[in-house]
Amino acid sequence: MECYLDNSATTKVLPEVAELMHKLFLEDYGNTSSLHNKGFEAEKYIREARDTFSKILKCSPNEIVFTSGGTESNNTAIIGTALHYGSRGHHMITTRIEHAAVGAPMKFLESRGYEIDYLDVDSTGRIDLEQLKSLMRDDTILVSIMHVNNEIGTVQPIEEAAKIIHEMNPNCLFHVDDIQGFGKLPLLPKKLGIDLLSASSHKIHGPKGVGFLFIDERAHVSPIILGGGHQGGMRSGTENVPGVAGFALAAKIMTDDYDANLAHMKEIHDYFTGELGKIEGVTINGSKEYGAPYIVSVTVKDVRAEVLLHALEEKGVYVSAGSACSSNKPAVSATLKAIDVPKYALDSTVRFSFSPNTTMEEIDTAVKALNELLPFLRKFKRK
């Protein structure tokens, strides 16, 4: 039995989505910019998709800009803000546990003379709102905080952060990387005061290569991809019509009943973590109180993450290594470091991640596999 528990890396495309995209590839393959009927048909799909997302986010359809995925959305938000508001100030705030798609553009701006402050997190991965208050300045132009951490699942106090940011500096924009949250854990940007929000399709059973950036109509961001002026000039390039339509359909299905999905994942989560608790030398990272119920970061003492990953793979169980590491080039996870895990954990942490479609049988398979493998793997450790 294939037991795919790596849904925060990517997900399987829903059959309905694949079917719709198939039709768009072979029949409704027009270019939205074409004046003829084929182009008009294609444009309709984009318009419908915008409507879908505006309903999910309770925003206006023209506040959605389609991109090539989460990375581009984050880059547009950060670099685009710098380009537009750079004359106002050169200060931004983010956290120590962002995904590289936020971290790298921040580093890039730092190398161009921007001042970036990084919020610390506690041992559960949560930021400290008081620290945010103390770092806010008059020349702060952007604060970027992720909604759900991709490695340990910790959920940040987005609403409270938004209040602080807007109270202390009404000109400062607030960006939320919602790539691990969108479609699973509801977040309404207009209601909470989020100016920019990044989302990705392939984390919620849509196709790869598509995402969006929500840009509040009062906020301004300069485009970073220039060309034919598509999407009101915000993002040039022929729209990925099958991708966008597929993403919208996946989002529609996945958000149809948030509560039921969340309840299901919570049930799986609690059962799984309960079973893990029975195994010796296993710790679960992240926040009990503020954790997304679909990401479980597990440190297994005396077993190297990569080895466990491949051993699980042999049993059909697919997971991620918390931090990809090898003897040649240790690529240590910034998140795990930031939450101050013991040193051995950096090399011994794996991530299980669920989707609303994950079944209890899959969890049972994984638990069984772990119980079989761990005693064996622990026998052979590096001395």
């Binding site: 491949h310 793979e313 090898s326 040649n328 052979f380 001395k383």
Partner: protein
């Protein structure tokens, strides 16, 4: 602008009666390499060299293909003159220099060879006349008959060949003139270079990779296949043997002192490699070892590893410094792949302080602990040998 290439080979020419075997092999390999290149080629032998006539061809692709043929030391692009009138030759030499040398501040010499004795103009006269014509056209050039920077060759045959540049070839001996050997290929920087070095002496290759799932990944195996593919551009198709080594490794781990693990493991690798060699008529083993590079490559360690097998083990990098090996691996194009960070089976259980001066008797005594199951495990590993043919042009 060039209608042909003259290929020079050095050592092949002096191998006595075997010379024809070497030359035939060389012609065959040249043809094979050129068959993958855009263009029409006619390959023949001419006076101790190989002559390749080329039409409608891509110059860079052709030179690159020829540079991958072992046995060729130099590749000279040739201008062929069908019209052998003196005036034509003079005009052509001026054009030749004009087109091939942007800056003409150099010393030169004209070197005429008259293989076709019926040609009316003697070599010396031709040298002088062409030289004069060139000096006339390009006064910045000057003659130096002893150490010229540019030597313009004019070879008179049924037509006239004109050439001045020699591009370095791969050197060595033509493939297939020296049997086959088995390369221990790990995925690191050294072993692909070692395989290349030995193969350059005309040796065809099999390779063996020791796989240790789940401690090593599919990507590590893919990396080894990629390395074999790069090396096979020179060495021809490689039969890659994938041996599942996990159980042997774990058994050694359980039964033997931890600091001896690497040495004992390597001894079993040698034994298995030797068996593969024997089963496949391979005449020796090739490793990328270099004295003192790591704990398992000290003289004492090599003494212990070497003891495990009886067929010759070729270690072409034995006296190389690491940087020399890296330079070669960059030249071959294997470096970028070699440094991809996937665990290989030599590193997974490596002790923090492995023995650097192992004593063979002690190692042998430790191996006694393995008596119960090791033969069976080795046999299973050999029986489950997965052979992948890499770099065969029939597979694409």
């Amino acid at each position: 602008m060039f209608q042909a290439f003259l290929l020079k080979y050095a050592e092949v020419g002096v191998k006595g009666k075997n010379r024809y075997v070497f030359e035939d092999a060389l012609v065959r390999h040249v043809k094979k390499h050129l068959s993958k290149v855009t263009g029409n080629f006619n390959v023949s032998r001419i006076n101790g060299r190989i002559f390749v006539e080329a039409t409608d061809y891509d110059y860079d692709e052709t030179v690159d293909a020829l540079q991958h043929v072992f046995g060729i030391v130099g590749i000279s692009p040739v201008r062929v003159l069908e019209d052998m009138e003196e005036d034509t030759v003079l005009k052509a030499s001026v054009e030749f220099i004009r087109d091939n040398y942007e800056d003409k501040h150099f010393s030169f010499k004209v070197d005429t060879r008259r293989a076709n004795k019926s040609y009316p103009i003697p070599s010396m006269t031709m040298d002088a006349n062409v030289g004069a014509a060139l000096l006339d056209a390009f006064p910045e050039m000057h003659v130096d008959v002893h150490k010229p920077e540019v030597r313009l060759h004019i070879e008179v045959r049924e037509s006239i060949f004109m050439y001045s540049k020699t591009i370095k070839g791969a050197g060595g001996l033509p493939l297939g003139t020296n049997g086959r050997a088995l390369l221990l290929l790990s995925g690191g920087i050294d072993s692909p270079v070692a395989g290349y070095m030995v193969s350059r002496r005309g040796v065809e290759l099999d390779a063996v990779y020791f796989n240790a799932p789940p401690y090593t990944s599919e990507r590590a195996k893919q990396k080894v296949m990629d390395l074999a593919r790069i090396v096979s551009k020179w060495t021809g198709p490689i039969n890659l043997h994938i041996i599942n080594f996990t159980d042997i490794q774990l058994y050694i781990y359980e039964k033997c002192p931890h600091d001896e693990l690497t040495i004992i493991m390597r001894r079993y690798m040698m034994r298995i490699a030797e068996q593969i060699a024997k089963n496949n008529d391979l005449l020796g083993l090739i490793t990328g070892e270099s004295i003192g590079q790591v704990a398992s490559q000290t003289m004492k360690s090599l003494f212990c590893t070497n003891d495990a097998c009886s067929i010759p083990v070729y270690r072409p990098l034995i006296g190389f410094d690491k940087q020399d090996i890296i330079d070669w691996s960059e030249k071959l194009g294997t470096y970028e792949t070699s440094i991809l960070p996937y665990e290989d089976c030599c590193t997974i259980f490596v002790a923090k302080h492995p023995v650097t001066k192992p004593n063979l008797n002690i190692i042998k005594a430790s191996e006694q602990n393995l008596n119960e199951k090791i033969d069976e495990l080795v046999q299973t590993a050999l029986d489950t040998d997965e052979v992948i043919r890499i770099g065969d042009e029939t597979e694409q």
